[in-house]
Amino acid sequence: MTDTVDTDDKTRRDFLLLSTMAVGAVGSGLAAWPFIDVMNPAADTLALSTTEVDLAPIEEGMSITVVWRGKPVFIRHRTTAEIKEAGAVPLDDLIDPEADKGRAQKPQWLIIVGICTHLGCIPLGQKSNDPKGEFGGWFCPCHGSHYDTSGRIRKGPAPKNLVVPAYQYLTDTTIRIG
């Protein structure tokens, strides 16, 4: 056998080996995906994704908690003083700078997901006798995060403001969350 034939044969084998391995790897990857995705939220879980709320019965200064996708959503009918306080904070003082205006479609209604952005506890401050933290909003008892009247993080380990969910006003006093 000459050298040429030999190398020719070798490269052909290498090619076959490598392409078989590549196809095998892609195939195994594709086969693994269903086993990963099966653990993501199922269709019925996703279907539960909107909640409608009538705001009319909530008096000024009161808060209610509704459930959306299994999560508590805080709805606070803010007083003028609270709105003013939230608007007056300079953005430089904030850990996660965000203006109050951008967080409430109508300033008197603050609608936020009531889950601490640290590790997921439910902050206190919904009931009138709850501790509200140093900034008059909410206080998370788990590791001590303080939120202001706009639900923004002001002190403690939480990195982000309380999340404003997607919502829209269906009428003047009803909203759909999600």
Partner: protein
Amino acid sequence: MSNRFYENPVIKWIEYRLPIFHFIDESVGSGYPTPKNLNYWWNFGSLAGIVLVIMIASGIVLAMNYTPHVDYAFESVERIMRDVNYGWLIRYIHMNGGSMFFIVIYIHIFRGLYYGSFKEPRELLWILGVLILLTMMATAFMGYVLPWGQQSFWAATVITNLFSAIPVIGEAIVTWLWGGFTVGNPTLNRFFAFHYLLPFVLIGLVFVHLWALHVHKSNNPVGIDIKGPQDTIPFHPYYTMKDLFGLGVFMVFFMFFVFFAPNIFGEPDNYIKANPLVTPAHIVPEWYFLPSYAILRAVPEIGFISAKLGGVIAMFGSTLILMLLPWLDRSPVRSARFRPIYKQFFWVFVVDCIILGWVGANTPDAVFHGVPFLWIGRVATVYYFAHFLVLIPLINILEKPKPLPDSISASVTEDGGATEAAE
């Protein structure tokens, strides 16, 4: 095993086709030579194995009466406690068995640290041990979620949320772990599946751990290699008896809790059914996670790494760093008996771990005699890592080890084992 045993025709028939009796004899029988100077700290490995068997036996019976659904889980555990025959006993064995498992394993690990059992040629044995610890932690965490009490639910929430600290894909990972938008029914279901699976993964890991052990045999209190038959005695009957005696003492300790203080390791809140809308005033993990929890909360924001991400890295790092230990500690002497400086810092390290546990049990804003726990936790966390990364390498340089005995035998017999060697 005596030769007469192998002459039995049935044994012979089996042995010819599957040499299982030889295998057993060479693993835990008279055919397994063991250092003759092992002390009681060497009992904890076999104890851990027995506790694993107890956990699987009690767990399988519990699973026959348990319902992994958010509407029924709590009630099914209450039914186990009230209506199922001996259900209370089985559950208390399983509940306290978890704590016993960690007591035994922590002692087993500190034994390894003191006597240098992680050093060459036992690095892989040690690394497998750390993998066993991690798997145990995952198993215990998911088991704690199953009774679906308030602590179950909120422990699951806080711990799964740790993964949201991962940049970019964190949130997607958390949703994937939950199978929903919060901890809920899909979460409970999969945790049950994993809680059932992982103990069997543990059996596999333990098997490989023992395989590695049997290659170079046990380390021993003086930390020098076996040099010949005069240094060893057969595992059976000597250590089988010693292990059995230790098991008896351990069972008295274990059963004391099962019968007289079954809820002492638990939180009363866990007898309140999970409520996703109300967080209990104090969330504390089980005692065996308290040091990790203290480390998690100790880390402040550092540069662009948020306090949350930093805490998570430090917490996982505090366990994973054990895997690097064989390469951090380059002292050729294994046993702390001959390492005067290391010995002292070993005990300081033990105290540091206990302090971390104590900090983990308190709220971070609590104050001890004017010192905030947050700061005690920070100092103890820094010390924890400094022990591995600074002190151990320094001790390697500064320490002058004491002279080692000539052999294991010489260290335990007056004439250095000369009589035995002559026999």
